[in-house]
């Protein structure tokens, strides 16, 4: 056997493993192969089992007790879909709230009455079903704290009412105009309720109201999509979403649609008869989702028709103006959750549904030939960041301020910012042609003090507020709500707070 010492340097040599007596069975290695400490430290003597502290590697020295078992909740979980239904439930009335006396209703007369500015107008009860059908109400808008739903007639609402009046009025210069607006504003400034007011006014004026209550649903990948054959680059229809749109439109506008007859020939829908009403036409798409997109196109063509096709003249009535509202516009300016066949994300503008509504924003071609209004609102509660949209909106602001698109002050996307050219293309200036108005940007702000007062008085009359409503108190609420932001005012109105009054310095105290 070789010497265990190295004779040149007198240091112990490691014994080669090969000459160690090999064990017959391979034992499981329970400790590491290399140790700098003796084996006894690696395997310390076991401590007494009933000791409460059995310290392990790197454990603290603190006392550890066994946790108590959480008591099991044996209640039955809610049924499938029940939670979501509760979440989405919209309650429009509260029997505990007081009836507001002398409350006026929204009507074609009141919606343009400047004297009523700042007062809360009730939505007509007969219209509520229509508004529900177009999903104009959203949960958490505070409808459930009043006896009946009502909205403030603020300045923007009055202007909206006047636009409705003009477009469906008799003045030939204004009649049949198309107003396009993008509505922005800080959180709680009433953008969605503005759309609701527009829908209500549309119903009052017997317009056709078409709404997209949540733009997110079309791009979030929760509804089916299928490519249009032969389209290059591939475009996609969303049959179920279109069918839902038709359902909303039919339910809300049945009275108008029933009075109108089919007047055009439509490819793909051969079994149409001239005696069918537009409601019948729309209902074709409800049953068969595959048909829904052609049906919607046919319905759109009918609504924008100015004259009947040859051979279908009998009973043609002129079409009413159309209101289109979209809520949550920025979702249509980012990528979708849908994937193309090559696993790339589908651009939202490749969805024909989205593309149809976005193409209406361009004013160079006649879109709504019978006049109407396009209100597309951004959202702040569910808002994906879209740099291209921000640039586009900035450009619109600049144009409204009179900055020429060729001037260096005109906002442009930053270099290397990867802005989406298709989105920027949408916001390029287009000339107004005929009655097509150019795209405008409307920014909703806070209420004025008078409007604030009217709104808060409505709370008081409904029994929600106990305070004396005077000028000072209203001003205080106005400041606290960031300058009359209506969503914040609503929070303050229902917020029960201790009165913030402290005695003024009285002479006898000093």
């Amino acid at each position: 056997m070789a010497s265990p010492w190295c004779w040149s340097c007198l240091s112990p040599l490691r014994t080669p493993r090969a000459i160690l007596p090999s064990s017959t069975t391979t034992t499981r290695i329970t400790t590491a192969g290399f140790h700098s400490t003796a084996v006894q430290y690696a395997m310390p003597a076991k401590k007494n089992k009933n000791s409460i502290t059995q310290l392990k590697y790197r454990q603290g020295q603190t006392l550890r007790r066994k946790k108590k078992k959480a008591t099991e909740n044996r209640a039955r979980p809610p049924a499938i879909g029940e939670r979501k239904a509760m979440r989405k439930r919209i309650v429009l009335s509260n029997p505990n709230a007081l009836e507001v006396e002398g409350m006026q209703e929204l009507s074609p007369e009141t919606m343009i009455d400047n004297r009523l500015r700042g007062s809360v107008l009730g939505l007509p009860v007969t219209m509520l079903d229509q508004l529900r059908a177009v999903q104009a109400f959203k949960p958490r808008q505070g409808w459930n704290i009043f006896r009946r739903p009502g909205t403030v007639l603020r300045r923007d609402a009055l202007e909206l009412g006047q636009l409705f009046e003009k477009i469906s009025g008799d003045d030939p210069a204004e009649k049949g105009k198309v107003v396009r607006k993008i509505i922005t504003g800080p959180k709680g400034s009433g953008k969605t309720v503005h759309l609701l007011q527009a829908a209500a006014m549309g119903f009052l004026k017997n317009w056709v109201v078409i709404t997209v209550p949540d733009a997110y649903e079309l791009v979030s990948g929760t509804t089916s999509y299928s490519p249009i054959e032969g389209s290059n680059p591939p475009q996609y229809v969303q049959p179920n979403a279109t069918s839902a749109l038709l359902k909303r439109t039919v339910e809300a506008n049945s009275k108008v649609l029933e009075s109108l007859k089919v007047s055009q020939k439509h490819a793909g829908l051969e079994n149409l008869k001239p005696t069918m009403t537009l409601k019948d036409l729309a209902q074709l798409g409800l049953g068969d989702a595959a048909l829904s997109w052609p049906v919607f196109q046919a319905l759109w063509a009918e609504l924008t028709a100015t004259s009947p096709a040859p051979g279908m003249e009998n009973g043609f009535q002129s079409r009413p103006p159309t209101l289109v509202t979209v809520d949550g516009l920025s979702h249509w300016m980012t990528k979708t959750a849908y994937r193309a066949e090559d696993y790339s994300f589908v651009h939202p503008h490749d969805l024909v549904f989205v593309q149809h509504f976005l193409s209406l924003l361009k004013s160079d071609k006649p879109t709504l030939k019978n006049g109407g209004m396009l209100l597309y609102a951004t959202s702040t509660s569910n808002n994906p960041s879209s740099y291209s949209l921000e640039v586009g909106l900035d450009q619109m602001i600049a144009r409204q301020d009179g900055v020429s698109p060729t001037s260096p002050d005109y906002p442009a996307p930053e270099a290397y910012s990867n802005a989406d050219p298709r989105v920027l293309e949408l916001f390029k200036p287009t000339a107004a042609s005929g009655k097509e108005g150019v795209l405008e940007l409307q920014t909703l702000g806070g209420l004025t003090r008078e409007e604030t007062r009217g709104y808060l008085e409505y709370f008081a009359q409904s029994g929600l507020l106990r305070e004396n409503i005077n000028e000072k108190w209203v001003s205080e609420r106005w400041s606290l709500s960031g300058g009359g932001i209506i969503g914040e005012l609503e929070k303050l109105g229902r917020h029960v707070s201790a009165p913030a009054k402290l005695a003024q310095p009285t002479p006898d105290v000093e």
Binding site: Q61, L63, P186, E471, K472, E476, S479, G482, L492
Partner: protein, 318 residues
């Protein structure tokens, strides 16, 4: 220094003996004209003594020592005496100062004094500064007693305080007397804008308050953006709310640090202070409302050995 030196008479004798030896020639210029050692008789004038010496040298004549002039004889200490009597104490310079001041105090004890509150406010040296000044490690307690002396001297009626005392005191003043500066009260500036600062926890708020319609901007944003909670907003504007001035002023705030509570309450304090500049009469109301009361609490630091600031780890047997 404390070397033993022979006394005067012995030295005189020695000197004579040395002069008398024939083997040692002393060059007169090298001969010391004055003694380094302390004890001796008054030295005779060298000129009168040296000349006959030189002439007399070759004759090796023995002459008697000159008579000691006891009239001129003066007793001097036998060693070097330090200038200060406190030399052998631990901190002589300090004690010198104390003795000097005590001397002054006794000297002018009869002068009229003003009450402590009316004496001119003086910024004496801080202990560390004083230690640097005297160059000695003065104990705290002793420095306090010195300060007491200084304060007593300072209380001498300012009109008649002697120059001696004033100069003695002024030695102990910090450079750049902080009490000499006049406090200038803050005011609303020429644009009608009152500025004030408030702090709470780790937040700092700077408020500019102008007369207006009740608009509020925090860091350039709406107050709703900055404080989503209603409570925080109410807190931030509490100074204006409690005085019912919310619709009379516009507020512009810069706030940084801390969280929403700290920021809101820092704004409260800052607005309260700024409002006092506009309307000083509101001070009692603001004080009562707690809008200008500073909350000086801060988070206590965590200590080693503790789990938190004060919490100790649970004690475990073994």
């Amino acid at each position: 220094m404390a070397r033993h030196a022979p006394n005067g008479i012995v030295q005189a004798m020695q000197l004579l003996r040395l002069q008398g030896t024939p083997y040692r020639r002393v060059i007169p210029s090298l001969r010391p004209t004055a003694r380094f050692y302390a004890t001796e008789t008054e030295p005779q004038t060298p000129s009168t003594e040296a000349l006959p010496e030189q002439t007399a040298e070759p004759q090796l004549e023995v002459r008697p020592a000159p008579e000691i002039n006891f009239a001129k004889f003066q007793q001097r200490p036998a060693r070097i005496v330090p200038a200060s009597r406190a030399y052998f104490s631990g901190n002589p310079r300090f004690i010198d100062h104390v003795l000097n001041l005590e001397h002054l105090q006794q000297k002018y004890a009869s002068l009229p004094q003003v009450p402590a509150g009316e004496a001119p406010r003086m910024a004496w040296f801080k202990l560390a500064q004083f230690r640097d000044f005297v160059g000695e490690a003065v104990p705290v307690k002793k420095y306090r007693s010195l300060l007491k002396l200084l304060q007593q001297l300072n209380r001498i009626e300012p009109g008649i305080a002697p120059q001696e005392v004033r100069t003695a005191i002024s030695v102990f003043l910090r450079p750049g007397n902080p009490y000499a500066k006049e406090h200038t009260p803050r005011e609303v500036d020429e644009n009608g804008c009152a500025r004030a600062k408030g702090k709470r926890k780790t937040s700092t708020a700077v408020v500019q308050l102008v007369e207006g319609e009740g608009e509020v901007l925090v860091n350039g944003r709406s107050i709703v953006d900055v404080f989503p909670r209603v409570d925080d907003r109410e807190k931030a504007l509490w100074a204006l709310r409690s005085t019912e001035r919310i619709d009379k002023y516009n507020v512009w705030v810069r706030v940084h640090g801390g969280g929403s509570t700290g920021q809101a309450e820092a704004i409260t304090l800052a607005i309260g202070r700024a409002l006092m500049l506009h309307e000083p009469g509101l001070k009692p109301v603001l004080r009562k409302a707690g809008a200008i009361t500073v909350d000086a609490r801060r988070v206590e630091r965590k200590k080693p050995g503790h789990v938190k600031a004060r919490k100790m780890p649970t004690w475990v047997k073994r």
